[in-house]
Symmetry: C2
Subunit: 206 residues, 2 copies
Amino acid sequence: MEQTIIPDIIVGRLPVYLNMLQHLSAENVQVASSKELGDLMGISAAQIRKDLSQFGEFGKQGRGYSVVYLISELQNILNLNQVWELAIVGAGSLGRAIANYPGFKHNCFKVSMLFDSDPKIIGSRIGEFVVKNPETMDFEIRNSGIKIAMLTLPASVAQETAEKLVNSGIIAILNYAPISLKLPNGIHVQYLNPVQNLQHMTYYLK
Amino acid sequence: MEQTIIPDIIVGRLPVYLNMLQHLSAENVQVASSKELGDLMGISAAQIRKDLSQFGEFGKQGRGYSVVYLISELQNILNLNQVWELAIVGAGSLGRAIANYPGFKHNCFKVSMLFDSDPKIIGSRIGEFVVKNPETMDFEIRNSGIKIAMLTLPASVAQETAEKLVNSGIIAILNYAPISLKLPNGIHVQYLNPVQNLQHMTYYLK
């Protein structure tokens, strides 16, 4: 069967929809129309219907979407029917904050290991983690089968660390370091850089 | 003079271009073609040329862009010729990490105040900040003229806090709480939610 490639920008909106639906579900909302969802998220109803139609048919015209059903379908599409373990590389203040971020647990993610190259903290305990030596990264990551890493280290060492991670079997990186990573095709990278989000908004502030 | 409204998605790419150009400039690269930039960022040269052409003409066909000139033009467009002060609301581990994030200083942003509602830490010192009582928020923010706030607090209190911030004169919010905010038109909100970035990537991991 032929499979259409869905634009990545549409894929990127599914987690936003999922988050909103989970929020509605927590408030016991059972049915939501694309108009209601759009109003809540500040996007058009047509956009939501068009996005979702790329993945299947999830509701009957005029009936609205079943919140619980759409959550479960989106979780299927996004491969969230398993727990994804995460490795964090960089145990500075940001890495530590993220290691203890409570939002992962309820969303199929679990931080499993924390690396840092500072000899002063290797082996020490941070929350529930013992900081691991990056020299053991290849063994530890390969052995555990972890596929996703978060980079919370300075820009100056982000590229070389990302390459090591890829060589250890990592195929998805959430990068907090303020630098674009150059990695082989097939490796997925997402960036979290507060400066860029702020600069996006200052465009409008004058 | 008629001013065309430029799609927000294009505005959002300018900080990415700026970041890459600053990186090249730090490596003493003086001229970069749209193809070189595109290769570095994983987008097409045509996309870069089209995006930039919305804002003016920044290079001559076939000559490439002057890196320093394009940086300065993008900074103009994004209103980065001044220092933007920031208020952080929520002094938990994430708020603390962000308060001390070194990337702001070099990018026209400066954290100026840190609020938290926990009586145990109000008045205590965190890095260079003394944690302020949110009850003084309206006075403090109005008095300082701060326009941008970062929300690093639990989802359960994010909406009401965002409304208070808007009432205090805040017009741009960078929201780390995993919840969509409903705010009046004219208020700019950007979201940083690692779970959504991770879910975006798990779509491809099967």
